[in-house]
């Protein structure tokens, strides 16, 4: 049911067949057939786009200028639904247009129900970007990963793996980090194949020891990648 991602070769627009043999799957550790994936990283690192490509559909609004405001859990539902979790795990229905912009007090996270078959085996958690300077919010975001089977850290290819990213990643419990995958996003911004492989050489040296594996994601080639993952 799970696919694999080529590593460290480059996945560009699905032009290369992804998934070499002998590599471990991106999504490890299942419970009752359900894989829970948390996607974290600094702001504008392509988290929401990655979640959308995992789902194979543009479920969540992704934008460079408005940031994801709450941890957002996407799960299967027969009918599309959106609710906000407030105090005492209570959920109230809410509309997309009410959650644009700055985060409102009192909303802990969002729950999105979508009738996608893929979600029968996958639950995705999108998170607000780290590193915008709000430490308590960052801490809440990081808590969202503790229960995930796979934690994907997004780092944008053009400014990949900065000291601030390593710093935050290393504050996570070892148990969480052992389930970690480093996703190098916006890989299509890299203009040559040799640049891309040299970037990966550095990332393998500097970040490799802290992750289970490193994968690359292109904005336009993400869809086939997900098919490979989910099967």
């Amino acid at each position: 049911m799970m696919g694999e991602i080529a590593h460290p070769s480059i996945n560009r627009g699905g032009r290369q067949p992804a998934g070499g043999h002998g590599e471990s799957p991106i999504l490890a550790g299942t419970r009752q057939g359900l894989v829970r994936v948390a996607v974290i990283g600094e702001f504008n690192s392509g988290k929401t786009s990655l979640v959308n490509s995992l789902l194979g559909a543009p479920v969540l609004p992704a934008s460079f200028t408005t940031h994801t405001a709450y941890p957002t859990v996407v799960r299967f539902a027969a009918k599309p639904s959106l609710s906000a979790e407030i105090a005492d795990r209570k959920r109230v229905p809410i509309a997309w247009n009410r959650i644009d912009g700055a985060p409102a007090e009192g909303i802990y996270r969002l729950h999105v129900g979508v009738p996608l078959d893929r979600l029968k085996t996958l639950r995705a958690i999108d998170t607000p970007g780290l590193g915008l300077g709000d430490e308590s919010r960052d801490a809440r975001t990081l808590r969202a990963c503790r229960s995930a089977d796979t934690v994907i850290w997004c780092t944008p290819a053009m400014q990949a793996w900065k000291a601030s990213e390593r710093h935050v990643w290393l504050t996570l419990p070892r148990a969480v980090r052992q389930r970690g995958v480093l996703a190098v996003t916006f890989m299509d911004a890299i203009r040559s194949q040799s640049d891309a492989s040299r970037l990966l050489v550095r990332l393998n040296a500097e970040a490799g020891p802290h992750f289970r594996k490193i994968v690359t994601i292109s904005a336009h080639g993400a869809l086939p990648l997900c098919r490979d993952i989910i099967g």
Binding site: G131, Q159, K162, A163, F186, A189, D195, L199
Partner: protein
């Protein structure tokens, strides 16, 4: 393939609604101040012959400053923000600085640009670490090691140690047996090539040297500084661009180097990536620059070409950054400009590279949204020359480089560079006026003596007596002037001494209070929860308090000095007008000190123990110690770090104030010396006149003397003409500077 696109002449790909080919002109950075500099240099030459000995040291100092002082522009930002690419575009030299997909610049590189027909003797100069410096770096890791050692003695950061080990081994392996003899050397090259730069300033893996250029030599690990010199400058004013390794580098050693290099540039260009603008790391960096350099920062949002929707995104990103800046720094007003250094370089190569293909390969949609992709479909050979130049123009507009150049020029016009030029102009004008006044007095005295001689000897004797008396009085006044200068100087020094004492007391008090508060907070917290394993002491408030107290105290000291000056100058004027009865009061105006020209607070940015990450503090808690002991240790850590910083700040303030007093004193001394020169000339003349009157000369001698007097009068009159020409020119220089500065104010 047809090529007609009105969108191309738009100033921005993504601002088609704002047309304006009129804004298509090359900005030459610093043109207004360069005009002033050139004029002043010419005047220094002319006045050298005109003013005489007493002015020579001051004129020589002015000449040196005019010739040597360049505007230092530091380009800073996080790793991979595109700093080197930006510099290449700004300097109009695509491909000059090596750029790469990985953090690449490891050495702070200064590029000196100065228009000069003579090429520089050496185009590239690299200083390698000395044996001691290298030992300290490779064994210790400098400041970072010092801090971690202090926090957790005997425990060295695994990571830092590992990184240093890698660096040391790599350098020794790469450089081989020659390694030892390289240290402490200085390498000079007659020209700058990409290969040389890669060898000395770039990090990087094996085989990264451009193909076909031989084996790469890795000096970058042991290069301490790199200076490149160019005589065909693309800028009007002499400019030094400083390329820095990025901050937020996971390779800690490089991060350290960059922080140390932010010493006192005139202007900072802060490059951020449009894709992740103003992260916490950027804000931290701006905090360091804030306070002192509010008026010296330009923010350049790079990589706008990579935004998914350049049309709307770039504007939205800029608005977001401006909003964030207002929120974080309410007093900070920085120009925020978006663009793409990549496009800037591309348009510079428009004649040689296949730019339509390059544009098509761009990851963002800049070309698609601009109307460019629809039209630039074919290979570049299809484009006519006119079309190519239109596309180049559109790329230039979209790159934002023109706007950045204009913003830098504006900053230069209000920077300390403009202040310096103004001071030099004012000082020269004063010297000229002094000479003018003494000449006028001399001329009058010659005419009066000649008149008296034409009458009879009794009148002449009387006139000489009068002149003698007046000269004696003059002499007394001049002596009084000199004495009062000394008194004033002593008074200035006392003021500085007491101000710095007060400042030291104040700053140390703040540090001790803060250390006490934090130590008590830790103690209380430990008593409540003895098992706690984490502690974070935020020293930002202390830094801010110190900065505020420091700047306030400095302003006070400066205004004390100013009060003395306010008192001093009218007094001096009185003496001068006693000396020169027809003096009309345009000498010795109180110099207007530029506001906000504060001393550096760079010491505040020094990394301290409290800045170390959480993991360090966890280690600090690992040992078993009593709560009191722990709190005491915290107190002494804070005090050790910050008392040293306070001391450095006080020294900086002292130096700053002393420099100012030095300038004032040099200025008044030059004036007084100018007066004295005139006095001596008149006195010598009088001695001869008296000798002649007492019958020492014959008829022939008298005639010759009279001729000489007429000649002297003639020279005096000529000098006066030259003076008033120089004064006219100086006032036009000052006016030019005023206009340049005025244009920058809304």
């Amino acid at each position: 393939m047809g090529f007609e696109s009105p969108a191309l002449v738009a100033p921005r790909f993504w601002e088609a609604s704002n047309p304006g080919p009129q804004s298509w002109h090359e900005e030459t950075i610093g043109a207004p101040v360069e005009a002033a500099r050139v004029q002043l240099l010419g005047l220094v030459e002319r006045l050298g012959g005109l003013l005489g000995e007493h002015a020579a040291p001051l004129l020589e100092a002015a000449r040196q400053q005019l010739e040597q002082r360049s505007c230092r522009i530091a380009v800073i930002g996080q790793i991979k923000a595109g700093k080197s690419t930006f510099i290449n575009a700004l300097a109009k030299r695509p491909g000059l600085l090596p750029t790469d997909i990985n953090p690449w610049t490891v050495v702070v590189t200064a590029l000196h640009f100065r228009s000069d027909p003579m090429p520089p003797k050496h185009a590239a100069v690299f200083h390698l670490y000395s044996v001691d410096e290298w030992k300290q770096l490779a064994d210790g890791g400098g400041r970072l090691r010092e801090l971690t050692e202090r926090l957790v003695p005997g425990f060295q950061s695994d990571l830092l140690r590992a990184q240093l080990e890698v660096m040391r081994k790599r350098a020794e392996r790469r450089l081989g047996p020659r390694f030892a003899e390289l240290l402490g050397k200085c390498h000079r090259f007659p020209s700058v090539t990409p290969e040389i730069l890669t060898d000395y300033v770039s990090a990087g893996d094996e085989g990264s040297r451009p193909a076909g250029s031989g084996k790469r030599r890795h000096y970058s690990d042991i290069t301490r500084s790199a200076d490149l010199y160019f005589n065909d400058s693309p800028f009007a004013y002499p400019i030094t661009l400083i390329d820095t390794p990025g901050t937020n580098d996971p390779f800690l050693v490089r991060d350290e180097i960059t922080r140390r290099s932010l010493e006192n540039p005139d202007i900072y260009v802060f490059v951020v990536s449009a894709l992740q603008p103003l992260s916490a790391a950027d804000i931290a960096m701006l905090r360091l620059l804030n306070g002192l350099h509010k008026d010296r920062i330009v923010v350049f949002i790079n990589r706008a070409d990579q935004l998914p929707n350049p049309n709307s995104d770039a504007i939205a990103v800029r608005a977001m950054i401006e909003k964030r800046l207002r929120l974080e720094f309410p007093t900070l007003q920085v120009p925020v400009i978006y663009g793409s250094a990549w496009l800037g370089n591309l348009r510079l190569q428009a004649d040689t590279v296949d730019f339509p293909a390059m544009l098509r390969s761009a990851p963002g949609k800049a070309q698609r949204q601009s109307g460019l992709p629809a039209t630039i479909d074919g290979p570049s050979v299809d484009l006519s020359g006119a079309d190519r130049s239109r596309v180049a123009q559109a790329m230039h507009m979209s790159s934002g480089m023109g706007e950045v150049s204009a913003a830098i020029t504006k900053l230069i016009c209000t920077s300390s560079i403009a202040m310096l030029l103004r001071q030099i102009a004012v000082c020269m004008a004063e010297l000229v006026r002094t000479a003018e006044v003494t000449d006028r007095a001399e001329l009058e005295s010659i005419h009066e003596l000649l008149d008296a001689r034409r009458q009879e000897s009794a009148a002449l004797r009387k006139r000489i007596g009068e002149e003698q008396t007046s000269l004696a009085a003059f002499e007394d006044h001049a002596n009084a002037l000199q004495a009062s200068f000394q008194g004033v100087e002593a008074h200035f020094k006392e003021l500085i001494a007491s101000a710095s004492q007060v400042l030291r007391h104040q700053l140390c008090g703040l540090v001790r209070d803060f250390a006490d508060t934090e130590a008590n907070a830790l103690l209380n917290s430990l008593q409540e929860r003895p098992k706690q394993k984490a502690w974070r002491c935020d020293v930002l408030p202390l830094r801010e308090e110190l900065e505020a107290a420091y700047l306030t105290a400095f302003e006070e000291a400066a205004s004390d000095l100013e009060r003395v000056e306010q008192f001093l100058y009218p007094q001096l004027k009185l003496i001068v007008s006693a000396l020169l009865p027809d003096y009309r009061g345009n000498l010795l105006e109180v110099p207007a000190w530029p506001q906000g020209l504060s001393p550096s607070v760079a010491s505040l940015a020094d990394k301290v123990t409290m800045d170390l990450g959480t993991s360090w503090w966890r280690r600090w808690f690992a040992g078993r110690r009593a709560a009191e002991e722990r709190a005491g240790h915290l107190r002494s850590l804070i005090e050790e770090d910050f008392l040293k910083i306070a001391d450095e700040l006080v020294q900086e303030a002292e130096a700053h104030l002393a420099e100012r007093v030095d300038y004032v004193m040099r200025r008044v001394n030059a004036i007084s010396n100018g007066l004295r020169t005139g006095l001596e000339r008149r006195s010598a003349n009088l001695t001869r006149e008296r000798a002649l009157l007492n019958g020492a000369g014959d008829e022939h001698g008298l005639q010759r003397f009279e001729m000489e007097q007429k000649q002297r009068a003639h020279v005096c009159a000529q000098r006066q003409e030259a003076h008033s020409a120089a004064l006219g020119e100086l006032s036009s220089v000052l006016e030019g500077l005023d206009i340049a500065q005025g244009e920058t104010r809304p």
